[in-house]
Symmetry: C2
Subunit: 340 residues, 2 copies
């Protein structure tokens, strides 16, 4: 169905299209299904940059050999309350799906547990992971480095990745409270959009490779982005490097971009997910205390401020009844991959 | 010894003075010793606002009955990998000291563990906690709400506290990497300093109680401060409320300030500390991977950027040889408490 130059797909159609395209590129069926679920969820939630558009990115990663298309994730238990899934160089989605049940079980049994994904290719946001865990009634945190594109505060040379932090909190009878943001000043894609549009960027987004603040998106893409929030954002970016890099035996953003060898592939490395079972501390008081959390959400929304996940959930409700609309050109580019 | 109008004390003298003053106010000796250690450490590290100056704040909290001076902390194990210390309304330092050994033991045994301090009075920074855990070879995170003084991004009414986040990372042969920052745009004390000096504050620090941005420190102290880093800092502040409030069965910042009933006492509530043993994920690879973390620190410092804890450690080295210098007036105010 086409309307206003867009192609409208039901959520089922969007996911099936993504799965077909990924399988056609040579991705093993279990990986293709897991990746397609994540891309369709992004499209559904109005995150176009993490939606079906990413099929083009994934196809490039597969074609260039950045990702192992038929990697078999290997699950292990390095310590009593720790889970590890070695992704073997494949996409992160299937390893997360395979590690999640044991992470949930351990969080419930011990009160807190952590999951490391190792040796995985990242192209997606982290909110699907923390939302899935909050859907199991757990509080969850997730972290991952990326490629070294971001300078520490006080410097001008890249050390950190865009290093997102995501958090999920279970809300009885409602979708979870979820946030997921880059610790860089803006998403790298935002600078890319300015480059394509030939527009300057604000002077506080980054530096050229001589270390001067620059409004030229190309110069900043080749130089260094800044972190959000000055030295505080920079400290958080360093933490993400440490706990989702060396702590779990995986690459820092500097090591990931070095390993990429200029292929412009998606970042390869690790991800750390921490899950805490509120019942662990609260026992029979669980319901009362979750209700107290709701009072905080009401104090935020009651003054007209928005919860971080509100826009995504509103888009989700629309998409579930109206389907998703894909720009006609993007739909053609994606469909072309079916014949490639 | 007096010089330039300051009084110089050795670290031992500073700690002994703090302990005497606290005991004189009626604080039980074990609490007085723990609190004095923290205040002397703040003074030693050049954090004057968390140093001996806090004796005046603590004396006020004790005099007004905000703190239970002889509270006996009660330790429990709500779940296999969780520790709880109920502080019984006393200061947070002794409960942390008493909960720390079991937290460390559990983190080593299970790979990850968490400690909740409940029903404690907070006046100090969080870095002493995460630094102590990093000193045991663990990565550590700490969070605590405070009083509702900070508006969520997009709103102008207070919901959050200044809600600090602290992180510690062990460095072989060096002091740990540690950061500790408020998720508010600035420390509340910074606005107080402007008020005392009769100076305006920048317009992006907060709102008056009509919800307008204000440069009047008094108006913002009575209105609402802003978070750092826009909606990202606001999301983190909400997370701190949740995981160091309802998750551990303790108060949110809004509940804490309501319970204060206008006494202007220190915040009462909870604190969440998460500890992860790098050996859990790394096993025999520990040394290699900690070395890779050092490469990241070198990439930061090698370009002239500073690590978050660098200034404190430099002050510490100076204080250990030269002692600490207290303004003469502050020393008189503190000494007066010995006779009160």
């Amino acid at each position: 169905m086409s309307r206003d130059g867009d192609v409208t797909l039901t959520l089922g159609e969007a996911e099936a299209l993504a799965r077909s395209v990924l399988e056609r590129q040579g991705l093993a069926p279990d990986h293709a299904a897991a990746v397609a679920r994540t891309m369709a969820a992004g499209e559904r939630d109005g995150c176009a940059s993490h939606g079906l558009y990413r099929l083009l990115v994934a196809a490039n990663s597969i074609a260039k050999g950045v990702v192992v298309p038929d990697a078999v994730p290997v699950l292990s238990e390095p310590a009593v309350a720790l889970v590890r899934v070695d992704g073997g160089g494949g996409f992160a989605q299937l390893p997360f799906e395979q590690g999640k049940p044991l992470l949930v079980e351990k969080a419930r049994r011990f009160g807190i547990a952590a999951l490391a994904l190792n040796n995985v290719v990242h192209f997606a946001a982290l909110w699907p992971e923390v939302e899935a865990l909050a859907g199991e009634g757990l509080a969850a945190l997730a972290f991952t480095p990326s490629h070294a594109w971001v300078a520490p505060e006080g410097g001008t040379k890249p050390v950190f990745g865009t290093n997102p932090i995501a958090f999920g909190w279970p809300r009885p009878g409602k979708p979870p409270f979820v946030f997921d943001f880059a610790t860089s000043a803006v998403a790298r894609g935002e600078i890319e959009l300015h480059r394509r549009a030939g527009k300057p960027i604000p002077p506080d987004w980054g530096y050229d490779d001589a270390g001067n603040p620059s409004t030229d998106p190309v110069a900043v893409l080749n130089g260094a982005m800044r972190t959000f929030g000055g030295h505080k954002g920079s400290a958080l970016a360093a933490m993400v490097e440490l706990i989702a890099g060396p702590l779990i035996g995986d690459m820092t953003s500097a090591e990931s971009i070095a390993a990429d060898q200029g292929r412009m592939g998606s970042p390869i490395g690790g991800e750390l997910v921490i899950a805490i079972d509120p019942s662990g501390f609260l026992g029979a008081g669980l319901e009362d205390h979750l209700r107290r959390a709701e009072a905080m959400f009401e104090a935020i929304e009651g003054q007209g401020a928005r919860l971080p996940s509100a826009r995504r959930y509103a888009a989700r409700v629309r998409s579930e009844t109206e389907g998703v609309r894909i720009p006609a050109q993007l739909h053609r580019d994606i469909s072309a991959l079916l014949k490639a």
